[in-house]
Symmetry: C2
Subunit: 294 residues, 2 copies
Amino acid sequence: MRIGIIGGGAIGLMFASRLSGKHLVTLYTRTEQQASIINHDGLRLIEEGESRLLDSVMSKSLDEGITDHDLLITAVKQYHLPHILPAINSLDVPLLFLQNGYGHIAHLRKLKSPAVYVGVVEHGALRHDANTVEHTGLGLTRIASFKGELDRLSLVNEKIDGFPFIKSGDYRSMLLDKLVVNAVINPLTAILQVKNGSLITNAFYYQLFQELFDEISGILELENKAESFEHVKSVCMATAGNRSSMLKDLEKGSQTEIDAILGHILSMAEGKGKTVGLASSLYKMIKGKETQGG
Amino acid sequence: MRIGIIGGGAIGLMFASRLSGKHLVTLYTRTEQQASIINHDGLRLIEEGESRLLDSVMSKSLDEGITDHDLLITAVKQYHLPHILPAINSLDVPLLFLQNGYGHIAHLRKLKSPAVYVGVVEHGALRHDANTVEHTGLGLTRIASFKGELDRLSLVNEKIDGFPFIKSGDYRSMLLDKLVVNAVINPLTAILQVKNGSLITNAFYYQLFQELFDEISGILELENKAESFEHVKSVCMATAGNRSSMLKDLEKGSQTEIDAILGHILSMAEGKGKTVGLASSLYKMIKGKETQGG
């Protein structure tokens, strides 16, 4: 398959390196500089301390225009999506969106393509530099259909070592599950500046964890709260030693995904007339920190 | 006057150095080591970049027992007060308490002394080491009577350069004013890790500042909210470049005064059946950080 991947961040680089073994991959980057480095020096994938250089990935800056592909994967942050949409709005090619949060769904309704899929990435990935990515945590990618038949997307049936795909029947619950995990773990770890596991092991942080989950699950009107709570907790424990992406973003002084995550939930709360407390305070704390960093 | 001062922290060292010019000062420390350093090397006061060595302060460890004084000043943190009380419970000497918060008032009712005063310190002081203190912000000390006539405390009528005393008619409102200032500024700056001024200049932090003030002034049932709000804001701006004591405590991994400050307010809220939100979240964040540090 000819696969195009938009986005030269951690997720874009990881997908490009993982898929390049079986597919003809073109990686679209925001800057010409990154594309030129990748074309010149290759793409480096680090995994369990071992580094592999892959020279089959071709890279272009997005400004050069998108060529013909059998699948186009969008791996930019949700807050960059509006800048990308004009380039893909009118394409007929199958599209796969890997954003966190739920807010991007509103954009997808306007796309011309008859086959639109959404995915949730449960791998850990860390971008070291323009052409180096580390696969820090082996997980999986869940894919669901937003429009069109899921089985027409051959990717979901492929076997790629250390990079499994799982079909999901309902994009809403798939995205909501991830949203709840992100909305509870990311803001708390970012403000408290702790690894994920501390939210469970520190008795005071665990109280905040429970309160935030209660608030968010109430706003999202989750049907099975107890099960969802156990899921968030299990993710927290499975990634106990990790620093969340939001914590890392704040440390780097980068923009976070707070608007796509808590921001989205808070605007839902407003729409439903629900009261918010901790979620709203954490939102302001993160936004304030972003202002400071920028 | 023969003045005894209990506590070898920033406030104790500052009072000892400032009062030693006119009075015979004995400083009671927790450790023998600190007393021995002060007796051996003198007490060093740094002010506006200039350092002065004072050799007239005598120091003893509290375990050696308290000798006869005309005034005994207690300058330990509120959470250390219970350990000090047995040594002063049955003294007849006038007592002055310089703790933050309001919770120490409950202890004062049990004292035998007929003259008990409370003070609020609005100076900035930083302890560099066992016998060095820097007077970082010139302010004043408010003193009110808890028991006995205020004018019998000659200290309140003294003129000491750079170290003024002001009489306050009502200890309750004096302590509450300081409590509100501490309860709003300290926890927010400690969790957000910013200097006091950021709470006003950062638009998101200012929203949190307003919300926390609203919550606290509601719990304390302040009579003149608008005036009190302006007071807290003016303190924040006057100390814009300062790092709050709670922020410094967390950075050092020390215990903070959160129980004396927000803890006291939260237990009042519970007693009155008032709902709490941000105050309670901040309390848990600080307690969690203390647990982490310890």
